[in-house]
Amino acid sequence: MKKNKLRNRLRRFLSLSMAVVLFLTVNVVTAQNGQQAKVTISGTVTANGEPIIGAVVAVKGTTTGTITSDKGEYTINVTGNDILVFSSIGYISQEIPVGGKTKIDVVLEDNVINLESVVVVGYGTRKRSDLTGAVNVMGEQTIRATPAANIAMALQGAGAGVNIQRSGGSTHPGHTPEIRIRGTRSIAAGNDPLLVVDGIPYELSMMNNIAPEDITSVTVLKDASSTAIYGSRGANGVILVSTKRGAEGAKAVVNYNGYIGFSKPLGFYDVMKSEDYMQLRKWAMYNRYKNAENYTGIDDPRVLQKVFEGGLDGEIEGYERGVDTDWQRELYDQNPLMTNHQISLSGGSKNTQYAASLGYYKSTGVYDLQSMERTTLKLSVDHTINKYLKFGLNTLNTYYISRGESLNPMGDALSLSPLLSPYMDDGSIREKVHPNDLMSNPLMDLRKDAIQDDRKRLSTFTTGYLEVDFTHGFKYRLNAGVQLSSTTLQRYYQKGTSKRRQSSNYGYNESNSLTDYTIENLLTYDKKFDKHNLNLTAMFSAEEREAQEFDLNYENVPTNQVGYYNPGTAENHKGNGDYNKWSMLSYMGRINYDYDSRYYLTATLRTDGSSRLAKGNKWHYFPSAALAWNIGNEKFMSGTSHILSQLKLRLSYGEVGNTNVSPYDTMGDMTSNKYIFGSQGVLGYYPTAASNSELKWERTASYNAGIDLGFLNNRFSGSIEVYKQFSNNLMMKFTPPATSGVSTQIPYNVGKTENVGFEFAARVHVFDGDGKNKFQWTSDFNIYFNRNKVVQLTEGVDKLISDNLFVGHPLGSFYEYVGLGIWQDTPEDRALAESYGLKTSGDDSVIGTIKVADISGPDGVPDNVINDLDRKIVGSHQANFEGGWTNSLAYKNFDFTVVMNFRQGGMLRSELYGGGQNSLMGGYYNNLNVDYWTPENTGARWPAPNNKVQSIPYKGTLTLFDASYLKIRTLTLGYSLPDKLLKTVGVSKARVYSTATNPFTFFSEYVNKYKGLDPETNRVMGTVIPPSWQMLFGINITF
C-alpha cells in the first residue's frame, strides 16, 4: 500500500519532469576530424566576458605550453592531433582537440569549488586553505539545490554538525526551523546560533525576511576559535550570510529565476471510521459499567443505550443513517499552490558595482487559512572613489505576511465523531458537535472571514561600509548596519469558531517595532615579508537593540466585516505593552600569522560589555587561539602531491559566551493583579522578584582538532573534526527561599554541560567532467554526531525531574516508566499485579491496562510498588549519528541533483498518540485507529478502552518512537538550453528544471510502523496539520 503510493509519486515526478525537459531539448552535435600537420594556433582566453591574464595553454601529454598575455591572447605551435588544455586558477579546465583549427577562443567557466576557496569569516575573508578553525562553507550551488522559503530549510543536511529540524514538526508555510550547531548546551539561555548578514548581526527569528535567492554564500562557524571573535554571542555557533553584490568589470546581467508548484499532504492521520468508533465506545462503556450493570457482553443492548445516553444531537441519527464522516478530508485543500519569482540585475565597472533584485514568494498550506507571502527588494552598490577610498551600501527590504499562525484544527478534526455529518439536512454547517461545546465544527472556521490571523511585517536591513586604504598595509573600515522592522499581528475570531466556541467575537491587535543598529570600526594591517604573512585586525563596535510591543484584545466585535480593524466598535478592551532595550560595546583584536603557508597561528581576544548585566559584571573577555600545519605544502610532500594533494592539521581552543540574559533580568520585578471594591475596579502591584546583581553570561570553552585531506588532485577532498566543549555558568532557575518575600525563580549561573562530537565531510568528484560532453558526478557527503550531557545542576542536585534535567544525560532526555505491554488475564500476571498491591478484579482491576516495570523504590531497589520512583531515562532525541548526502550529476546539458539527509537513533515523543484523540474513552471523541486490548485481542499495543479513565495511566510509555529516518529532501532534474540556440535569441543561459521536495522518507519506524506522517521534529512531534511534499517547475534565465 505504502510502497505503491511511493512508486506512484516517483513515477509521476519523473514523467512530469521528463516531459518538461524533453519538450525544450535541442541537441547540437559537432564533429571534427583531426589532421597531422604542424600549425600555429592563436586565440583568446576569457571568462565572464573578461580576458584572463596568465592562463596556461598546454599541449596535453607534453611539457609544451604558454601563458596568455595581459589581453588574454596566446599563440602556440602544435600538430593537428594535439589536444590543448586551457587552465587557470579558479576556472574549470577545458580540453580542446586542435583538429583543423587555427584560432581557438576559449571561454572558461568559474570553478565553483575554487570560488568557494575564499571564505567569509568573522570580520573579513580568508583563503580556504588558510583556515585554522572548523567551518562549513556552502556556496550558491548548495543553496539553490533546495528551493525553500528560508535559508535554514535550504541548508538541511548540507553541513556536518549543523542540525536543522522543524520545531514540534510544525508544518506552517512560514515556519522557521530550529538550528543547532554542534548540539545544545544551554539549559535556560537558548541554543540558537548568531546570524550575521553581510557582517551585521541579524534577528534569527526573522530569517524569513531574506529571500534565499539573494544569498550567495553561507559560512557556519563551529569551533570556538572561529566564533570567539563574536565573543559573548558565539557559544551556539555563528552563521555568516553574504548576499549578492555586483562583480567588478562585468557587464549587466539580468537573471530571472522562478518556479511554481503545488503541495500534497503526505497523508492523513488514521482515525477510526464509524464502525470501529462504535465498537470502541461499546468497549469503553462495557468496561466502565460491566460490574455495576452486569452486562452480558458488549453486544448487550444496554451497552448501546449507555453509549448514546446523554445524547449528542445528530449522533443516533448518523448511526442509523450510516454516516461516516472523514473530517480531515473535509478540511484540507489537496493541492495548495506555491510560487516564487525573482528577477535580478547585476553588473559593474571597474569602479562601481551594483546588484538589484525583486522577489516574490507565496506558499499556501494544506490548511487553507495558513500561508506565507513575501515580497523582497534588494539593492547594493559598491564604489571605489580612488585608490584610498571605497564605500558600499546594501539594503534588503521585505514585506512579509504570515497567516494562520495560531491555528491548528487537528484537535477537532481528529476527535470529532464520524457519526456526525458536517452539515445539517438544510445544508447549513452543523454547529453543535459536543453537548458542552468542548469541541467545535472546524468548518465553522473556514467560513468567510470567520477567522482572520495575519502577521504582517515590514522590514529593512541596511548595511554600509567605508573603507580607507592608508597603503603600506593599513586599512580602516567603518561598517554599519541597521535592522528596522515593524510587525503587526492581528486576529479576529468569530463566535462559533474553534477559537471562541460559545464566547463572543474577539479581536486582537499587536504591534511590535524593532530597531537594531550596529557600528563597527575595523583597523587592519597586512604585511608580507619574506615568507612571513601577517594580518592584524582591531575592532571596536557598538550595538543597540530596542524593541517595543503593544497589544490590545477585546470582545463583542459586532461583525466579521469589522474584524480586527476597528477596536472602537467592540467592548472589554484589555491592553499590554512592553519595552525592552539592550546595548553592547565590544573590542576585538586578532592576529593571523603564517610562515610560508605551512605554519599558521590565529589568536583573538574579544571583550564585550553589556547593559543586560549588573554594574561590576558587565564586561567579560573571550580569548581564543588556533594552530594549523599545512603538511601538504611541506617540501617533503611535493613528490606525492598528485596522490595526497592536501593535508592540513588544525588545533584550536577558545572561550565564548551566550548573552541570552533578558534585559532587566538583574532587576527586581513586580507582578500586577486586579481587584474591585464594590463596583470600583482597581489595578494592583506587588513585588515578586529579587534583583540579582551576580548574573553573568554563560561561557563555553571548546577544543577542536581537525584534518583537511585531499587525494588525487583533490578529486577527493574532505575534513574530519573532533571537538569537546565545556559549558559553564549555565543559567539555571534558582528559587530563593519563599520567606525572602521575593521568591520568583530567577536565573543564576550554576549549571554545566559538555558536548563531544565528531564530524566528517567529503566531496568526491566521482566523474570529473564538465557536465556537457563529459559526464560529471559530484558527491557531497557528511556524517556527524554530537554527544551532550548535563554535568552539573543546582548544588547537590543530580536530577530536576520537573525541568527534565538529569546529570550524566543529554538535555531533552525522556524520563519514563518502562512499559511491559498490557496486564493480561493470566495467573502469572494476576499474581504479579497483586504482589504490587494492584487490583485484578472489580472496577479498579488492572487487567487490560498498561503494565510497567517495578524498577526501583526508595532504597534504589524494586519495592513491589509502582510509583514515581519507577521512572528512568529511556532515551533522548539525540541521534547516534546524522548527516546528509547530495549527489549532482550532469551530462549533455542535463543535470540531476538528489539531496538527502538522515539521522539514526534517538527518540521522539508523539503528541499524536499522547493527546486527547487517543484517550480510548469512547465518549464523544473519536480515536486514533489503534489496536487496543480486549479479552480476545490480547496482543494489542494499547490498553482496553474505558470510559472512566480520563487519562490512560502510563500512556507516556507508548508515545516514544525511534526518530531515525532517511529523507530525500529534494530531487531536481534540470536541462540547460544549448548556448548556440540561446545566442540566437540573445540569452546567455537558460535552464529549466523540476524539483520534488520532501518526496520520500525511508527507515522511519514512526512513519512506516506507527502511521506517523513525518518523523522530522526537534524533539516532540506535535499534532500538526499534515505535512506535505511539493512538486515545483522552474526556469532560470540569464540575459
Binding site: N521, S583, G684, Y685, A690, A738, S740, G741
Partner: protein, 581 residues
C-alpha cells in the same frame, strides 16, 4: 539619532569613557517598589495586596484545601494534594505543592506590606489621616497573614522589614514574637480613627476597624489557647468581641435576621459581613485571566446530583458543576445539626431539591431501608422536582410513593451525598464557568462564637453575658420558626468546648475556618478520630479517622522552603513527625 551621531563621532577614537552611559539599562516596562512612597504607587501596592487575597480564597487550590477537609466535617475525594490533606494519607508530605504555594504567597504579600509600611511612611502630598488609614490597611494584612501562618505552622520566619534582594538564608522565629508583632499591628489598626469604623463608612471589601477588632479578638483567643499564651488573652478576646457586638449601631455590622439569607447569591455585602474577598463579573476587574483569582468554591462541594435528577449525566447551572471534591462525614450529615426541622441551618447549608433537566421515565432507583434493599420506578418532566434530599431517613412506603428520587442518609453514596450549597452560583452564564460571587471570609456570627469561647475559657458560661448567651443569640436567629426558639435555647450547663465546636459547625459549616478551630481548641486529632469517616451500606470511607496522627496539628514546613535555604543553618522542619517524612 543624536546618539548615533555622537557614537559615530566618538567610536573611531576608541574612547570608551565618553560613551560611559551607553551600557546603562533603561527600564520602562516594570514597576519598582520605590513607587510605594508616592500616594498613587502606595495605592497600587495596597490594591496588589487586596488582589492577592483572591489567590487565597476561591481557586481550586486555595485555603479551603487546608481548612475544610481533614476535619470532623469533611474529607476529600478526587486526588492529589486535596485528597492527601483531606485524608492524611501517606502522600501528605512536606513536598506538597499547595502548602508551598500558600506559604510563598503569604510571604510575598507580607513583603509587599513591609514595603508599603517602609516606603509609605515617606508619602507626601497626602492628608495625614488618609496616610494613616492606608498604612493601617497594610498593617492589617500583614498581621492577618502572619496570624494565619502561626496557626498553620507554629514558629515561622518573622520579617519586619522590606526585602528586595536575593536571600539564601532563613530562620524560624518563636511564635510568641510573631504574635507580639501581630498584636502590635492590630492595635494600630484598632486605634480609633486609624481605620473607617465599619463597612458603611468605606467601599465594600475594604478593611475596617470593625474587622480589625474581630481579628484582634480572634488573635487573643487563639494565643490564649497556645503555648505563647498571656494571662490577659481570653479577657482581651472577650472584651473586644463583646464590644464589637454591642457597637452594632455604630459599626453597622449586625446579624442578619434569617440564616439562609447570609449566603444568598447577590447578598455577599450584607450587614453581617466583616470581610469578604470581592469578585464580580466585571470583565476587566472581576474575571482575572489567570486561574489564580477565580472562584471555584461553587463547584467543589457539588455532589453527583445528576444521579438523582433523572438525567443520569446532565448538570444544570443552578445546581452547580459536579466537582464533588468534599464529602461530609456521617456526623456532619446526621448528627451535627440536631433537629433539622427546628434549626434552619441544616437546610440553609445543604441543598435539598433538584429539578429535572430532561423528561425521564421508567428509571429504577434502588435504595435501602434498614437492612433491606428495595427499588422504585422514577419518572419526571423537565423542570419539575426530580430529586429530594430530606436530610433524614424515611420509610420504604414514603420513598416508594414518590415518583421522584429520594435520597435518605442511609442511601448516601459516593458521589451521591448532600451538596453544601453556600457557594452555589446560579448566575453563571455557562455550566463550566467559575463563580463570580464575592467570598465571605469573616462575619459577625463568628464574633459571637469568639465571645462565647473566650467566656467559656474565662469560666463564664452564663446565659446573660457568658458563653450560653452568645450561643443562644445565634440559635435564636437559627430557629426555623419563632415557636421553636425555646426548644433551641441552651443553658450554661450545656456549654463545653465540644458544644462550642458543634455550634461552630452548625453556624459556619464549610466557611473555611474549621481546621483552624479544631487546632486552636486542641481537638483536631480527637474529633477526627471520632467523627472523621463516612459509611453507609453503599460506601465506606474511614481514611481521615484511621490516618490522622498527633503531629498533623501543624502543617509541614514546605520542602522547597527547606531546600532553598542553601546558606547558613538549615531551615528546621516541624519536630516529632514531619521531620521524619
Amino acid at each position: 539619532m543624536k546618539k548615533i551621531i555622537y557614537l559615530l563621532a566618538c567610536l573611531p577614537l576608541f574612547i570608551m569613557m565618553a560613551c560611559g552611559d551607553f551600557l546603562d539599562e533603561e527600564n520602562h516596562s516594570k514597576m519598582t517598589p520605590e513607587s510605594f512612597s508616592t500616594p498613587q504607587g502606595f495605592e497600587l501596592g495596597l490594591n496588589g495586596v487586596y488582589g492577592g487575597m483572591r489567590t487565597f480564597y476561591g481557586p481550586l487550590s486555595s485555603i479551603h484545601m487546608i481548612t475544610v477537609p481533614g476535619t470532623d466535617e469533611f474529607y476529600s475525594r478526587s486526588s492529589g494534594d486535596i485528597y492527601n490533606f483531606g485524608n492524611y494519607t501517606t502522600n501528605y508530605k512536606p513536598n506538597s505543592d499547595y502548602i508551598y504555594s500558600y506559604w510563598r504567597s503569604s510571604y510575598t504579600l507580607i513583603n509587599t506590606c513591609n514595603g508599603l509600611v517602609h516606603f509609605g511612611e515617606n508619602m507626601t502630598d497626602i492628608p495625614e489621616a488618609k496616610k494613616i488609614t492606608m498604612l493601617a490597611e497594610a498593617r492589617f494584612f500583614r498581621a492577618w497573614l502572619y496570624f494565619r501562618l502561626v496557626q498553620f505552622f507554629g514558629d515561622v520566619t518573622l520579617n519586619r522589614t522590606y526585602n528586595d534582594v536575593v536571600v539564601k538564608t532563613a530562620k524560624r522565629d518563636p511564635m510568641a514574637d510573631v504574635y507580639d508583632f501581630i498584636v502590635e499591628d492590630l492595635l494600630y489598626c484598632t486605634t480609633p480613627g486609624n481605620l473607617p469604623v465599619g463597612p458603611k463608612d468605606t467601599q465594600p471589601g475594604r478593611v475596617t476597624q470593625a474587622l480589625a477588632r474581630h481579628l484582634l479578638a480572634k488573635v487573643y483567643l487563639t494565643r490564649g489557647w497556645s503555648s505563647a499564651a498571656k494571662t490577659t488573652d481570653f479577657q482581651n478576646a472577650y472584651d473586644i468581641a463583646t464590644r464589637l457586638i454591642q457597637d452594632g449601631d455604630q459599626t453597622g455590622v449586625k446579624l442578619m435576621s434569617k440564616y439562609e439569607d447570609i449566603h444568598k447569591p447577590g447578598n455577599e455585602n450584607n450587614q453581617e459581613i466583616l470581610f469578604n474577598v470581592q469578585m464580580t463579573d466585571d470583565p476587566i476587574y472581576g474575571v482575572p485571566e489567570k486561574d489564580s483569582g477565580m472562584n471555584n468554591l461553587a463547584h467543589i462541594f457539588v455532589a453527583g446530583y445528576f444521579n438523582f435528577n433523572g438525567s443520569g449525566n446532565v448538570q444544570q447551572i443552578e445546581d452547580g458543576r459536579v466537582y464533588a471534591r468534599y464529602h461530609g462525614t456521617t456526623w456532619l450529615y446526621n448528627e451535627a445539626f440536631g433537629d433539622i426541622d427546628k434549626d434552619s441551618r441544616y437546610h440553609g447549608t445543604f441543598q435539598s431539591k433538584w429539578t429535572a433537566p430532561i423528561d425521564f421515565s421508567n428509571k429504577k432507583q434502588e435504595f435501602y431501608v434498614g437492612e433491606n434493599k428495595y427499588s422504585a420506578i422514577r419518572s419526571g418532566v423537565k423542570g419539575e422536582l426530580a430529586g429530594y434530599l430530606p436530610g433524614k431517613n424515611m420509610t420504604k412506603e414514603e420513598i416508594e410513593s414518590a415518583n421522584y428520587y429520594i435520597l435518605t442518609p442511609e442511601n448516601y453514596t459516593d458521589p451521591n451525598f448532600p451538596t453544601m450549597k453556600k457557594y452555589l452560583d446560579p448566575n453563571r452564564t455557562s455550566l463550566s464557568f467559575d463563580s463570580r460571587r464575592t467570598i465571605i471570609v469573616y462575619r459577625l456570627a463568628e464574633t459571637y462564637l469568639i465571645a462565647a469561647e473566650a467566656a467559656f475559657k474565662l469560666g463564664n458560661n452564663s446565659t446573660t453575658d457568658g458563653a450560653a448567651y452568645y450561643i443562644n443569640e445565634l440559635r435564636k436567629r437559627a430557629a426555623s420558626k419563632t415557636e421553636y426558639i425555646n426548644d433551641l435555647m441552651i443553658t450554661a450547663a450545656d456549654v463545653t468546648i465540644d458544644y462550642i465546636l458543634d455550634e461552630r459547625t452548625r453556624e459556619l459549616c464549610g466557611e473555611q475556618l474549621r481546621w483552624l478551630d479544631l487546632v486552636r481548641t486542641k481537638k483536631l486529632v480527637e474529633r477526627v478520630r471520632k467523627y472523621g469517616f463516612f459509611t453507609t451500606k453503599w460506601t465506606n470511607h474511614t481514611l481521615p479517622k484511621d490516618n490522622i496522627q498527633d503531629f498533623h496539628v501543624l502543617r509541614p514546613i514546605p520542602q522547597k522552603q527547606i531546600e532553598s535555604v542553601i546558606v547558613g543553618d538549615p531551615y528546621p522542619q516541624q519536630p516529632d513527625g514531619w521531620d521524619k517524612m
